[in-house]
Amino acid sequence: MTKIYALGSNGNYQLGIGHCKDIVEPHLSFDASRGNVKRIACGGNHTMLLLEDGSLYGCGDNSRDQLSPNAGCTHWKEWKSIQNDIFKDVACGWDFTAVINEDDEVLTRGSGLKGELGLGNEQRESKEWKRVMTVSNKSKIFATLHNCVVVQPYLSGSKVYGWGSNTKCQLFEPKCRIISRPELTYESEDVVIDYVAMGKDFLIYVDVRGRIVKATGCLPAAFKAEKWAPIENLLVRCMWTSVHILVTKNSTQDTPKGIYSFGNNSHGQLFDEKELELPLDIKAFTTGSEHGIIGYRTDNADRTVVACWGWGEHGNCGKFKNSDSSNSGTPLNEIFSWAKNVNAENIHLFGGCATTWIAQDE
């Protein structure tokens, strides 16, 4: 059982709550009796929800057939089942959706004028699921605005394939405008890639030991991948224009536990531990387009709290107790809390384009 709460930008019904007004306080969006949430993937204006049992739901903008052949229905105002198939993974880019189905096929749909569908130069829009490639079992898919990558097990390591925009060499060098079919971007016989954290035009590959093994594209200047390479147990998340690294253990003297942020700070996106007091016991950590979200136990452990920071103009960082600074930058702002009997491991956080998602397994 999962209860999913949402807040933030909702102009295209992407919160799935039946209307299109922005939400500043967490609102119950989905109450799943069928099983726990596996992933919530957010596009520019559409949202996909994958449950552990493989059932897939969508809401929001369908004007580019991101959810289903729209046939005049340009928006799904509430959550609807995508179809009866079983899916293993899902990812959303700006106007497109990508999934891995039960047969380990990567399928895409929607609009991808920069090759995001991975279907070749001639096919930049699709009303139906179209097959991009077949992958091996336990593959994963990730996406950002104009790119998509698949991480596939290979021998004792991984292969990663990517497609979409390459104007910032986010996939590989040399620069080109469009990669319209999957191309190999990483291969190792012994390094297992866990995930690829994606900014709007950079990619950071993280392995199962929590090490940054590769970083490509237009990365924030202050972020030095080689400095981080020796350090394990990192959790890397990207906003569109910044990198955020959670160090969960005191791995070296130089990098004690904390959140290290690099990049665009126009709206308080960088986590500043001098100003934002870092909770000691962080249980969940993620990012949206230009805001951050953490879940933690309070110091005296009597509550589990979710708090946001960064750009919160659409209510995605919650309501402000004092002055409203959502247009400029948001200090760490508590948006949700539970009494101590909630197991923090059952709380899952997701971020979208000025949207914040809190899922609680029961």
Partner: protein
């Protein structure tokens, strides 16, 4: 004027019917700027749904290919009556 980000013209989408360049905004809407305004020196694209703005990186001569794509011409200088 402080902008949220800088975006190169080659990363923007050009709509030939409205003659407008656009780029995704983190709020879900799109930054927009009209090609004739760029020809006249404007380089700030605004989002209709929020306060964010981006600076578009381009050279004036970059615009020619987009005018050709749209089958249109740059605006004529406005004659000032003596």
């Amino acid at each position: 004027m402080s902008t949220y980000d800088q975006v190169e013209i080659e990363d923007m989408m050009f709509d030939t019917s409205t003659q407008t360049f656009s780029y995704p905004c983190p709020c879900g809407d799109k930054f927009q700027i009209y090609i004739d305004d760029m020809f006249d020196g404007e380089n700030i694209a605004v989002c209709p749904s929020c306060s964010l703005m981006i600076e578009v990186i381009f050279e004036k001569e970059d615009l020619q290919e987009y005018y050709e794509e749209a089958g249109s011409q740059p605006p004529e200088p406005i004659a000032v009556a003596a």
